[in-house]
């Protein structure tokens, strides 16, 4: 994976495979605390204790199309390489939450990448699901929610040309909110 936004997309795909209806992504970037944390929480099927233990083992997977599963192991590796760790909390029936913590200034920390493009792919590619993203920095706190966009669309599907444009517009606000927040204050 080239950057963290691709890891987020990959972990969220796990949520979709686990039958989630809603995925909440939370990104905290704090230079002040030298911390970057990423949480992906879903309301999917969740995992039993024994599966949870094997979740970061590359030679464990629930899928049948291949025999290795690299999503979570790669995310864990990225966190560890940046002086952090990966925590997974899960219970059958109450969803899964995956949190990666990274040292912000660590030389091996992967860049965050294009989080907007990850959200666009998730939102448009999975109509009927709800995705939220809260992005906090030391000076900004912005929020993205597909439910708001769907309400604005009044019945037009999110994968229609109008839907795609609406998602893009909303994501622009998310991106600008972070870049310009310092200047606006």
């Amino acid at each position: 994976m080239e950057d963290l936004s691709l890891h987020i997309l990959d972990i969220a795909e796990n949520s979709i495979a686990a039958g989630a209806k809603r995925v909440d992504i939370r990104i905290r970037e704090s230079r002040r605390e030298d911390l970057l944390s990423i949480e992906i929480a879903d309301d999917g099927s969740g995992m039993k204790q024994d599966m949870l233990k094997k979740a970061t083992d590359p030679f464990f997977t629930t899928r049948t199309t291949r025999r290795v599963g690299l999503g979570l192991p790669l995310f864990e590796q990225a966190a560890r390489a940046a002086g952090g760790e990966c925590r997974i909390v899960s219970r059958p029936g109450s969803g899964t939450s995956v949190t990666g913590v990274f040292r912000y200034s660590h030389v091996d920390r992967q860049p965050l990448g294009d989080i907007a493009e990850t959200l666009l792919t998730l939102a448009v590619g999975n109509p009927g699901m709800e995705f939220t993203c809260r992005r906090q920095t030391d000076d900004a706190d912005v929020f993205f929610n597909t439910a708001e966009i769907e309400a604005e669309l009044r019945g037009a599907p999110i994968h229609s040309p109008a839907g795609i444009a609406a998602v893009r517009k909303s994501l622009e606000r998310l991106r600008e909110g972070v870049t310009h927040a310092v200047g606006n204050r």
């Binding site: 795909e13 899928r63 199309t65 792919t121 590619g125 999975n126 994968h159």
Partner: protein, 127 residues
């Protein structure tokens, strides 16, 4: 087996409705980009982005771009399956943004399969 409740039936109906909406004319073409770990690492997100641009630019209201998991042929990612209503699905492999453009022009709009980019014509799974 537990007794079937009314809610269960509603769920079954919803599932069936989702599975058949393509046939009922909700979309004429469905393009499914495979988004497993392998696909994402190989650049599948760029492929989705390129496909969505085509839909937006051409105002293609009858084309649906969606995503699915790994299809089991990780070495040929990024991959996408193009399904035109009433025709056999076509699986395209080793995709690039330029190939996506060509697939939209020739296959999705022109109705002619881009054979040189296709792996196989048939089911959603590779084997």
């Amino acid at each position: 087996m537990p007794k079937l409740k009314l809610e269960d039936l509603a769920e079954v109906r919803e599932k069936a409705r989702k599975a058949t909406s393509l046939r009922e004319g909700a979309a004429r073409v469905k393009m499914t980009v495979h988004m497993g770990t392998c696909g994402i690492a190989a650049g599948a997100r760029k492929i989705v982005e390129a496909a969505l641009r085509e839909v937006e630019q051409g105002d293609l209201r009858d084309v649906m771009v969606t995503t699915s998991g790994c299809a089991g042929l990780c070495s040929r990612e990024p991959m996408a399956t193009v399904e035109v209503v009433g025709e056999a699905p076509v699986k395209y492999v080793d995709l690039t943004e330029a190939k996506v453009k060509a697939i939209f022009k020739e296959h999705i709009l022109g109705g002619k399969i881009v054979e040189q980019y296709a792996l196989a014509i048939g089911s959603e799974r590779a084997y």
